[in-house]
Protein backbone atom coordinates (compact mmCIF):
# COMPACT_ATOMS: atom_id res chain seq x y z
CA UNK A 1 0.00 0.00 0.00
CA UNK A 2 1.34 3.43 0.83
CA UNK A 3 4.30 1.95 2.68
CA UNK A 4 6.26 2.99 -0.42
CA UNK A 5 6.95 6.27 1.33
CA UNK A 6 8.51 4.54 4.30
CA UNK A 7 11.91 3.91 2.79
CA UNK A 8 14.84 6.16 3.42
CA UNK A 9 15.44 7.99 0.18
CA UNK A 10 17.02 11.31 -0.74
CA UNK A 11 18.68 13.57 1.77
CA UNK A 12 16.92 16.84 2.45
CA UNK A 13 18.05 18.33 5.75
CA UNK A 14 19.80 17.17 8.90
CA UNK A 15 17.38 14.28 9.25
CA UNK A 16 14.44 13.73 11.56
CA UNK A 17 14.90 12.92 15.21
CA UNK A 18 12.06 10.42 15.27
CA UNK A 19 10.23 7.99 13.04
CA UNK A 20 7.90 10.76 11.94
CA UNK A 21 7.99 12.59 8.62
CA UNK A 22 5.70 15.08 6.93
CA UNK A 23 3.81 12.27 5.20
CA UNK A 24 3.18 10.36 8.40
CA UNK A 25 2.31 13.56 10.22
CA UNK A 26 -0.46 14.28 7.70
CA UNK A 27 -1.47 10.61 7.71
CA UNK A 28 -1.59 10.70 11.50
CA UNK A 29 -3.84 13.75 11.57
CA UNK A 30 -6.19 12.23 9.00
CA UNK A 31 -6.22 8.98 10.99
CA UNK A 32 -7.10 10.76 14.23
CA UNK A 33 -9.86 12.64 12.46
CA UNK A 34 -11.25 9.41 10.98
CA UNK A 35 -11.12 7.69 14.37
CA UNK A 36 -12.99 10.64 15.86
CA UNK A 37 -15.68 10.33 13.20
CA UNK A 38 -15.84 6.60 13.90
CA UNK A 39 -16.44 7.20 17.60
CA UNK A 40 -19.14 9.71 16.79
CA UNK A 41 -20.88 7.43 14.30
CA UNK A 42 -20.32 4.11 16.02
CA UNK A 43 -21.08 5.04 19.59
CA UNK A 44 -23.51 7.95 19.29
CA UNK A 45 -25.20 8.50 15.95
CA UNK A 46 -25.80 4.96 14.68
CA UNK A 47 -28.90 3.19 16.01
CA UNK A 48 -29.00 0.11 18.22
CA UNK A 49 -29.88 -3.07 16.40
CA UNK A 50 -33.17 -4.90 16.94
CA UNK A 51 -31.81 -8.23 18.16
CA UNK A 52 -28.46 -7.29 19.60
CA UNK A 53 -29.32 -3.81 20.84
CA UNK A 54 -26.13 -1.85 21.52
CA UNK A 55 -23.79 -4.85 21.23
CA UNK A 56 -23.86 -4.33 17.49
CA UNK A 57 -21.57 -1.33 18.00
CA UNK A 58 -18.71 -3.73 18.63
CA UNK A 59 -19.00 -4.76 14.97
CA UNK A 60 -17.67 -1.39 13.75
CA UNK A 61 -14.27 -2.11 15.25
CA UNK A 62 -14.30 -5.92 15.32
CA UNK A 63 -14.86 -6.57 11.61
CA UNK A 64 -12.23 -4.08 10.36
CA UNK A 65 -9.71 -5.42 12.90
CA UNK A 66 -10.30 -8.97 11.68
CA UNK A 67 -9.89 -7.94 8.05
CA UNK A 68 -6.67 -6.07 8.75
CA UNK A 69 -5.22 -8.95 10.74
CA UNK A 70 -5.46 -10.99 7.55
CA UNK A 71 -4.17 -8.12 5.41
CA UNK A 72 -1.14 -7.84 7.69
CA UNK A 73 -0.59 -11.56 7.43
CA UNK A 74 -0.63 -11.39 3.61
CA UNK A 75 1.72 -8.42 3.66
CA UNK A 76 4.12 -10.46 5.79
CA UNK A 77 4.00 -13.34 3.32
CA UNK A 78 4.58 -10.99 0.38
CA UNK A 79 7.47 -9.28 2.17
CA UNK A 80 9.00 -12.66 3.01
CA UNK A 81 8.65 -13.88 -0.57
CA UNK A 82 10.27 -10.77 -2.07
CA UNK A 83 13.03 -10.94 0.52
CA UNK A 84 13.83 -14.56 -0.35
CA UNK A 85 13.69 -13.78 -4.05
CA UNK A 86 15.61 -10.48 -4.17
CA UNK A 87 17.44 -10.48 -0.83
CA UNK A 88 15.88 -7.08 -0.18
CA UNK A 89 16.18 -5.91 3.42
CA UNK A 90 13.51 -3.34 2.81
CA UNK A 91 10.94 -6.05 2.16
CA UNK A 92 12.20 -8.13 5.05
CA UNK A 93 11.48 -5.25 7.40
CA UNK A 94 8.06 -4.72 5.78
CA UNK A 95 7.31 -8.34 6.63
CA UNK A 96 8.49 -7.84 10.21
CA UNK A 97 6.58 -4.60 10.77
CA UNK A 98 3.32 -5.87 9.32
CA UNK A 99 3.53 -9.13 11.29
CA UNK A 100 3.78 -7.26 14.55
CA UNK A 101 0.92 -4.92 13.72
CA UNK A 102 -1.11 -7.89 12.42
CA UNK A 103 -0.58 -9.64 15.76
CA UNK A 104 -1.89 -6.53 17.52
CA UNK A 105 -5.01 -6.49 15.35
CA UNK A 106 -5.50 -10.22 15.82
CA UNK A 107 -5.48 -9.61 19.56
CA UNK A 108 -8.06 -6.83 19.10
CA UNK A 109 -10.23 -9.16 17.03
CA UNK A 110 -10.10 -11.88 19.65
CA UNK A 111 -10.83 -9.58 22.58
CA UNK A 112 -13.64 -7.68 20.84
CA UNK A 113 -15.03 -11.00 19.55
CA UNK A 114 -15.19 -12.35 23.07
CA UNK A 115 -16.74 -9.15 24.39
CA UNK A 116 -19.31 -9.39 21.61
CA UNK A 117 -19.94 -13.06 22.27
CA UNK A 118 -20.75 -12.63 25.95
CA UNK A 119 -23.87 -10.46 25.50
CA UNK A 120 -25.05 -12.19 22.28
CA UNK A 121 -24.34 -15.86 23.01
CA UNK A 122 -23.99 -15.71 26.78
CA UNK A 123 -20.41 -17.00 26.74
CA UNK A 124 -17.06 -15.43 25.98
CA UNK A 125 -15.88 -18.18 23.71
CA UNK A 126 -17.56 -20.57 21.35
CA UNK A 127 -15.66 -22.85 19.02
CA UNK A 128 -16.94 -20.89 16.10
CA UNK A 129 -14.98 -21.44 12.89
CA UNK A 130 -14.01 -17.81 12.54
CA UNK A 131 -13.01 -17.25 16.16
CA UNK A 132 -10.99 -20.45 16.19
CA UNK A 133 -9.09 -19.69 13.02
CA UNK A 134 -8.37 -16.19 14.28
CA UNK A 135 -6.92 -17.73 17.44
CA UNK A 136 -4.77 -20.04 15.32
CA UNK A 137 -3.63 -17.04 13.28
CA UNK A 138 -2.54 -15.39 16.53
CA UNK A 139 -0.47 -18.44 17.44
CA UNK A 140 1.10 -18.61 13.97
CA UNK A 141 2.01 -14.91 14.16
CA UNK A 142 3.48 -15.39 17.64
CA UNK A 143 5.64 -18.17 16.18
CA UNK A 144 6.84 -15.85 13.43
CA UNK A 145 7.60 -13.08 15.93
CA UNK A 146 9.47 -15.59 18.11
CA UNK A 147 11.74 -16.34 15.15
CA UNK A 148 12.25 -12.59 14.65
CA UNK A 149 13.29 -12.33 18.27
CA UNK A 150 16.03 -14.95 18.21
CA UNK A 151 19.53 -13.80 18.99
CA UNK A 152 21.40 -14.56 15.78
CA UNK A 153 23.01 -12.83 12.83
CA UNK A 154 20.77 -10.70 10.69
CA UNK A 155 21.09 -13.07 7.73
CA UNK A 156 20.23 -16.17 9.75
CA UNK A 157 17.28 -14.57 11.46
CA UNK A 158 15.85 -12.94 8.35
CA UNK A 159 16.08 -16.08 6.23
CA UNK A 160 14.47 -18.33 8.79
CA UNK A 161 11.78 -15.78 9.54
CA UNK A 162 11.10 -15.41 5.83
CA UNK A 163 10.44 -19.14 5.44
CA UNK A 164 8.03 -19.04 8.37
CA UNK A 165 6.43 -15.82 7.05
CA UNK A 166 5.99 -17.23 3.57
CA UNK A 167 4.20 -20.28 4.96
CA UNK A 168 1.77 -18.11 6.95
CA UNK A 169 -0.62 -17.81 4.02
CA UNK A 170 -0.96 -21.52 3.08
CA UNK A 171 -1.16 -22.31 6.79
CA UNK A 172 -3.97 -19.83 7.31
CA UNK A 173 -5.87 -21.27 4.34
CA UNK A 174 -5.51 -24.85 5.52
CA UNK A 175 -6.37 -23.93 9.10
CA UNK A 176 -9.48 -22.06 8.00
CA UNK A 177 -10.60 -24.91 5.79
CA UNK A 178 -10.06 -27.53 8.47
CA UNK A 179 -11.73 -25.50 11.18
CA UNK A 180 -14.71 -24.84 8.93
CA UNK A 181 -15.20 -28.53 8.16
CA UNK A 182 -14.67 -29.34 11.79
CA UNK A 183 -17.31 -26.88 12.93
CA UNK A 184 -19.94 -27.57 10.28
CA UNK A 185 -20.42 -30.94 11.96
CA UNK A 186 -21.75 -29.12 15.01
CA UNK A 187 -24.00 -26.22 14.07
CA UNK A 188 -22.89 -23.18 15.99
CA UNK A 189 -23.89 -19.56 15.81
CA UNK A 190 -21.67 -17.17 13.96
CA UNK A 191 -21.06 -13.51 14.49
CA UNK A 192 -23.16 -12.48 11.50
CA UNK A 193 -26.33 -10.52 12.01
CA UNK A 194 -28.56 -13.39 11.01
CA UNK A 195 -31.31 -12.24 8.72
CA UNK A 196 -31.06 -8.57 9.48
CA UNK A 197 -29.48 -6.55 6.71
CA UNK A 198 -26.88 -3.99 7.59
CA UNK A 199 -27.95 -0.76 5.98
CA UNK A 200 -28.26 2.97 6.34
CA UNK A 201 -26.23 4.57 9.08
CA UNK A 202 -25.04 1.19 10.35
CA UNK A 203 -23.52 0.37 6.99
CA UNK A 204 -21.95 3.80 6.82
CA UNK A 205 -20.50 3.36 10.32
CA UNK A 206 -19.00 0.03 9.36
CA UNK A 207 -17.54 1.62 6.24
CA UNK A 208 -16.05 4.43 8.35
CA UNK A 209 -14.65 1.78 10.67
CA UNK A 210 -12.86 0.15 7.75
CA UNK A 211 -11.35 3.46 6.61
CA UNK A 212 -10.30 4.66 10.07
CA UNK A 213 -8.81 1.38 11.21
CA UNK A 214 -7.04 0.86 7.86
CA UNK A 215 -5.45 4.32 8.15
CA UNK A 216 -4.33 3.51 11.68
CA UNK A 217 -2.91 0.21 10.45
CA UNK A 218 -0.90 1.94 7.71
CA UNK A 219 0.40 4.55 10.11
CA UNK A 220 1.51 1.88 12.59
CA UNK A 221 3.20 -0.27 9.94
CA UNK A 222 5.15 2.72 8.61
CA UNK A 223 6.35 3.72 12.07
CA UNK A 224 7.14 0.15 13.07
CA UNK A 225 9.06 -0.27 9.82
CA UNK A 226 11.16 2.79 10.60
CA UNK A 227 11.85 1.57 14.12
CA UNK A 228 12.99 -1.76 12.68
CA UNK A 229 15.16 0.11 10.18
CA UNK A 230 16.77 2.16 12.97
CA UNK A 231 17.35 -0.98 15.04
CA UNK A 232 19.05 -2.51 12.04
CA UNK A 233 21.32 0.56 11.77
CA UNK A 234 22.12 0.50 15.48
CA UNK A 235 23.06 -3.18 15.25
CA UNK A 236 25.28 -2.56 12.24
CA UNK A 237 26.73 0.55 13.91
CA UNK A 238 27.49 -1.41 17.06
CA UNK A 239 29.27 -4.06 15.04
CA UNK A 240 31.27 -1.46 13.12
CA UNK A 241 32.33 0.23 16.37
CA UNK A 242 33.35 -3.10 17.87
CA UNK A 243 35.42 -3.97 14.79
CA UNK A 244 37.01 -0.52 14.81
CA UNK A 245 37.91 -0.91 18.48
CA UNK A 246 39.44 -4.30 17.85
CA UNK A 247 41.50 -2.88 15.00
CA UNK A 248 42.66 -0.05 17.23
CA UNK A 249 43.72 -2.55 19.89
CA UNK A 250 45.65 -4.48 17.26
CA UNK A 251 47.55 -1.37 16.21
CA UNK A 252 48.53 -0.50 19.78
CA UNK A 253 49.86 -3.87 20.83
Amino acid sequence: MTTETAGPLEASDSGPTSTGSRTTMILGIVTLFALGVLVLLGLILSPAEENQSDAVRIMYIHVPSATLSYVGCFLTAIGSAVFLWRKSRWWDLVAYASAEVAALFTAFTLVTGMLWGRPTWGVFWVWDARLTSEAMLMLLLLGYLAVRGIAADYEVRAKRAAIVGLLLVPNVFIVRQSVQWWRTLHQTPTLSLSGAEIQGLMLFSLFTGFIAITLAFIWMVIHRFRVAWLEEQVDAEGLDTAIAERRAEGVVS
Binding site: L84, L139, A146, I150, K159, R160, L167, Q177, W181
Partner: protein, 222 residues
Protein backbone atom coordinates in the same frame (compact mmCIF):
# COMPACT_ATOMS: atom_id res chain seq x y z
CA UNK B 1 18.21 -35.62 -5.62
CA UNK B 2 16.42 -38.84 -4.75
CA UNK B 3 19.73 -40.63 -4.45
CA UNK B 4 20.91 -37.95 -2.00
CA UNK B 5 17.67 -38.31 -0.09
CA UNK B 6 18.22 -42.03 0.20
CA UNK B 7 21.79 -41.54 1.46
CA UNK B 8 20.67 -39.10 4.16
CA UNK B 9 17.73 -41.22 5.25
CA UNK B 10 19.92 -44.31 5.49
CA UNK B 11 22.53 -42.44 7.50
CA UNK B 12 19.94 -41.09 9.96
CA UNK B 13 18.16 -44.38 10.40
CA UNK B 14 21.43 -46.23 10.90
CA UNK B 15 22.32 -43.67 13.54
CA UNK B 16 18.98 -44.20 15.27
CA UNK B 17 19.30 -47.97 15.16
CA UNK B 18 22.81 -47.87 16.60
CA UNK B 19 22.22 -45.23 19.27
CA UNK B 20 18.84 -46.75 20.27
CA UNK B 21 17.72 -43.41 21.70
CA UNK B 22 14.43 -43.58 19.80
CA UNK B 23 13.87 -47.12 21.01
CA UNK B 24 14.99 -46.60 24.59
CA UNK B 25 13.51 -43.17 25.23
CA UNK B 26 10.98 -42.01 22.66
CA UNK B 27 8.94 -45.24 22.52
CA UNK B 28 8.67 -45.54 26.32
CA UNK B 29 7.68 -41.85 26.43
CA UNK B 30 4.91 -42.47 23.90
CA UNK B 31 3.56 -45.38 25.93
CA UNK B 32 3.85 -43.29 29.08
CA UNK B 33 1.64 -40.64 27.49
CA UNK B 34 -1.03 -43.29 26.85
CA UNK B 35 -0.89 -44.36 30.48
CA UNK B 36 -1.05 -40.75 31.68
CA UNK B 37 -4.22 -40.19 29.63
CA UNK B 38 -5.76 -43.15 31.43
CA UNK B 39 -4.86 -41.57 34.77
CA UNK B 40 -6.24 -38.19 33.72
CA UNK B 41 -9.52 -39.56 32.35
CA UNK B 42 -11.64 -42.13 34.09
CA UNK B 43 -10.80 -45.50 32.48
CA UNK B 44 -14.01 -47.19 33.63
CA UNK B 45 -16.60 -45.06 31.89
CA UNK B 46 -15.62 -45.71 28.30
CA UNK B 47 -14.19 -42.19 28.02
CA UNK B 48 -10.86 -43.53 26.84
CA UNK B 49 -12.42 -45.58 24.10
CA UNK B 50 -14.53 -42.64 22.92
CA UNK B 51 -11.57 -40.29 22.97
CA UNK B 52 -9.14 -42.77 21.41
CA UNK B 53 -8.62 -40.92 18.08
CA UNK B 54 -7.75 -37.63 19.78
CA UNK B 55 -5.56 -39.18 22.46
CA UNK B 56 -3.78 -41.32 19.89
CA UNK B 57 -2.85 -38.38 17.67
CA UNK B 58 -1.86 -36.17 20.60
CA UNK B 59 0.47 -38.95 21.73
CA UNK B 60 1.86 -39.22 18.17
CA UNK B 61 2.44 -35.46 17.98
CA UNK B 62 4.20 -35.16 21.32
CA UNK B 63 6.40 -38.20 20.95
CA UNK B 64 7.02 -37.33 17.30
CA UNK B 65 8.20 -33.91 18.43
CA UNK B 66 10.92 -35.61 20.46
CA UNK B 67 12.02 -37.64 17.45
CA UNK B 68 12.16 -34.49 15.32
CA UNK B 69 14.16 -32.58 17.92
CA UNK B 70 16.66 -35.40 17.76
CA UNK B 71 16.82 -35.47 14.01
CA UNK B 72 18.39 -32.01 14.07
CA UNK B 73 20.19 -32.25 17.38
CA UNK B 74 22.41 -34.99 15.91
CA UNK B 75 23.29 -32.69 13.00
CA UNK B 76 24.00 -29.56 15.00
CA UNK B 77 26.02 -31.34 17.67
CA UNK B 78 29.31 -31.88 15.88
CA UNK B 79 29.06 -29.30 13.15
CA UNK B 80 27.66 -31.94 10.84
CA UNK B 81 25.55 -29.24 9.22
CA UNK B 82 28.71 -27.75 7.75
CA UNK B 83 29.82 -31.17 6.63
CA UNK B 84 26.45 -31.75 4.97
CA UNK B 85 26.74 -28.44 3.16
CA UNK B 86 30.23 -29.23 1.99
CA UNK B 87 29.23 -32.71 0.91
CA UNK B 88 27.62 -31.25 -2.21
CA UNK B 89 24.36 -33.11 -1.63
CA UNK B 90 21.35 -31.30 -3.07
CA UNK B 91 19.51 -29.37 -0.32
CA UNK B 92 16.23 -30.77 -1.62
CA UNK B 93 17.71 -34.24 -1.27
CA UNK B 94 18.77 -33.54 2.29
CA UNK B 95 15.25 -32.31 3.06
CA UNK B 96 13.60 -35.39 1.55
CA UNK B 97 16.06 -37.70 3.27
CA UNK B 98 15.48 -36.12 6.67
CA UNK B 99 11.74 -36.24 6.08
CA UNK B 100 11.92 -39.90 5.13
CA UNK B 101 13.88 -40.86 8.23
CA UNK B 102 11.49 -38.89 10.48
CA UNK B 103 8.54 -40.52 8.68
CA UNK B 104 9.91 -44.02 9.22
CA UNK B 105 10.39 -43.31 12.93
CA UNK B 106 6.88 -41.87 13.18
CA UNK B 107 5.42 -44.92 11.45
CA UNK B 108 7.10 -47.22 13.95
CA UNK B 109 5.75 -45.05 16.78
CA UNK B 110 2.26 -45.04 15.28
CA UNK B 111 2.14 -48.82 14.94
CA UNK B 112 3.26 -49.25 18.55
CA UNK B 113 0.79 -46.64 19.78
CA UNK B 114 -1.93 -48.32 17.73
CA UNK B 115 -1.26 -51.58 19.48
CA UNK B 116 -1.16 -49.60 22.71
CA UNK B 117 -4.62 -48.06 22.34
CA UNK B 118 -6.12 -51.35 21.14
CA UNK B 119 -4.78 -53.16 24.20
CA UNK B 120 -4.92 -50.48 26.90
CA UNK B 121 -8.07 -48.60 25.91
CA UNK B 122 -9.92 -51.62 24.53
CA UNK B 123 -10.68 -49.82 21.29
CA UNK B 124 -11.96 -52.15 18.62
CA UNK B 125 -10.38 -51.35 15.33
CA UNK B 126 -12.47 -51.10 12.17
CA UNK B 127 -12.21 -49.35 8.82
CA UNK B 128 -8.67 -50.51 8.09
CA UNK B 129 -8.37 -48.87 4.69
CA UNK B 130 -9.21 -45.40 6.01
CA UNK B 131 -7.03 -45.90 9.08
CA UNK B 132 -4.04 -46.83 6.95
CA UNK B 133 -4.61 -43.98 4.49
CA UNK B 134 -4.91 -41.52 7.39
CA UNK B 135 -1.72 -42.79 8.97
CA UNK B 136 0.18 -42.51 5.69
CA UNK B 137 -0.88 -38.95 4.80
CA UNK B 138 -0.76 -37.67 8.39
CA UNK B 139 2.74 -39.06 8.75
CA UNK B 140 3.77 -37.39 5.50
CA UNK B 141 2.27 -34.11 6.69
CA UNK B 142 3.85 -34.22 10.15
CA UNK B 143 7.28 -35.25 8.93
CA UNK B 144 7.50 -32.71 6.09
CA UNK B 145 6.38 -29.80 8.26
CA UNK B 146 8.45 -31.08 11.18
CA UNK B 147 11.59 -31.29 9.06
CA UNK B 148 11.13 -27.82 7.59
CA UNK B 149 10.48 -26.14 10.93
CA UNK B 150 13.12 -28.35 12.50
CA UNK B 151 15.77 -26.75 10.33
CA UNK B 152 14.32 -23.29 11.01
CA UNK B 153 14.89 -23.90 14.72
CA UNK B 154 18.10 -25.90 14.31
CA UNK B 155 21.29 -24.66 15.88
CA UNK B 156 19.61 -21.94 17.91
CA UNK B 157 19.94 -21.70 21.65
CA UNK B 158 16.15 -21.60 21.96
CA UNK B 159 15.44 -24.54 19.64
CA UNK B 160 13.78 -26.81 22.23
CA UNK B 161 11.13 -24.23 22.96
CA UNK B 162 10.91 -22.69 19.50
CA UNK B 163 10.12 -25.86 17.56
CA UNK B 164 6.91 -26.74 19.44
CA UNK B 165 5.74 -23.12 19.23
CA UNK B 166 6.26 -23.06 15.47
CA UNK B 167 5.17 -26.58 14.67
CA UNK B 168 2.12 -27.31 16.82
CA UNK B 169 -0.13 -24.48 15.53
CA UNK B 170 0.87 -25.38 11.99
CA UNK B 171 -0.03 -29.02 12.60
CA UNK B 172 -3.43 -28.15 14.08
CA UNK B 173 -5.23 -28.96 10.80
CA UNK B 174 -3.45 -32.31 10.68
CA UNK B 175 -4.54 -33.06 14.23
CA UNK B 176 -8.14 -32.12 13.42
CA UNK B 177 -8.07 -34.07 10.17
CA UNK B 178 -6.45 -37.23 11.43
CA UNK B 179 -8.65 -37.31 14.52
CA UNK B 180 -11.87 -36.85 12.51
CA UNK B 181 -10.77 -39.46 9.99
CA UNK B 182 -10.01 -41.95 12.75
CA UNK B 183 -13.37 -41.22 14.38
CA UNK B 184 -15.07 -41.83 11.05
CA UNK B 185 -13.22 -45.11 10.57
CA UNK B 186 -13.83 -46.38 14.09
CA UNK B 187 -17.51 -45.43 14.06
CA UNK B 188 -18.05 -47.25 10.78
CA UNK B 189 -18.78 -44.21 8.59
CA UNK B 190 -15.60 -44.06 6.51
CA UNK B 191 -17.12 -41.79 3.84
CA UNK B 192 -16.92 -38.89 6.32
CA UNK B 193 -13.20 -39.47 6.75
CA UNK B 194 -11.96 -39.28 3.18
CA UNK B 195 -12.24 -35.47 2.72
CA UNK B 196 -9.86 -35.14 5.66
CA UNK B 197 -7.38 -37.47 3.98
CA UNK B 198 -7.57 -35.14 0.98
CA UNK B 199 -6.97 -32.05 3.11
CA UNK B 200 -3.95 -33.61 4.76
CA UNK B 201 -2.59 -34.62 1.35
CA UNK B 202 -2.80 -30.97 0.25
CA UNK B 203 -0.98 -29.99 3.44
CA UNK B 204 1.77 -32.53 2.83
CA UNK B 205 2.12 -31.39 -0.80
CA UNK B 206 2.46 -27.74 0.27
CA UNK B 207 5.21 -28.65 2.70
CA UNK B 208 7.07 -30.91 0.26
CA UNK B 209 7.20 -28.01 -2.21
CA UNK B 210 8.13 -25.48 0.50
CA UNK B 211 10.84 -27.80 1.80
CA UNK B 212 12.34 -28.50 -1.62
CA UNK B 213 12.61 -24.79 -2.39
CA UNK B 214 13.18 -23.48 1.12
CA UNK B 215 15.95 -25.84 2.19
CA UNK B 216 18.47 -24.32 -0.19
CA UNK B 217 18.48 -20.82 1.36
CA UNK B 218 18.22 -22.28 4.87
CA UNK B 219 21.23 -24.54 4.41
CA UNK B 220 23.35 -21.71 2.99
CA UNK B 221 23.74 -19.94 6.29
CA UNK B 222 23.12 -21.77 9.57
Amino acid sequence: MLHDAWLIARKDLKLEIRSRVALNQVVPFALLVLVLFAFALDPDRGLLEKATPGLYWIAVLFSGLLAMQRSFAVEAADGVTDALRLSGLAPAGIFLGKTLSVAVQLLVLEVLLGVGVAVLYGTSITGWLLLLATIVVATAAISTAGTLFGVVAAGLRVRETLLPLLLLPVLAPVLIGSTRAFEAALSGTPSEGWPWVGLMSVFAAVYVVAGIFGFGPLMEES
